[in-house]
Amino acid sequence: MLFGKKEQKTTGERQQILEMLASGKITVEEAEKLLSAIGEGSAGIGASKAVEPLKGIVQGKAKFLRVVVCEDDGEKVDIRIPMQLIRAGVKLGSLIPKGLQSKIDDSLHEKGMQFSLSDMKPETIEELIDGLSEFSIDVNDGGDKVRIFCE
């Protein structure tokens, strides 16, 4: 026998973790922790190295931004916004004259939104969308729930 029972068990567990990671049930960080816990590090291959090939699959570019609002009384709102729409919106927004952009920024600041329209450039939007791929907000208020995430 090439492997002992312990090694076979570890290989099975390792495969299970990688499958969970590939199917999106756990995050890359969680997979790294689990692999470290089962002694992957002592086997010669670091946990980070083991999950590296799957990072691209798991952290693929998000295609949609989802907003789900569930109210206690059964009312539900589910909105799916394509990321392409955000990209196209930013490109269109970049055509707004600078004078007008600063007026919009001032109005946003007056309303308490620390957001500058002039900072939203088509060149930087890809970076923002990449960052959104693991973005998730969960708000629970009694029976009311708000969930914002990317998929």
């Binding site: 909105i79 394509p82 919106g89 269109l92």
Partner: protein
Amino acid sequence: MILPTSVLHIRIAEDGRKKFNLWIPILPLWLLVIAVMIVLAPLAIIAIIVLGKRGRLILAGPRLLALFWAMRGLQVRVEDGKDQVLIIID
């Protein structure tokens, strides 16, 4: 590459029953818009040359078209008990 939106689907259900189900083909609309844009293109080029920086706003036309095309996949679903409103742009 952004593919144009082709269908607008609106569905309204009351008490779990379909009350309104509408499929609107919007692809022919884009063909018409593109034809108009091609006809107006020479005028737009002249306007951009004459107006200089201010002429940049003429580019809003094609970008607005791209914005509508980018709506492909947009979905809005509102449910209240057995009542449901669904809007899909595909």
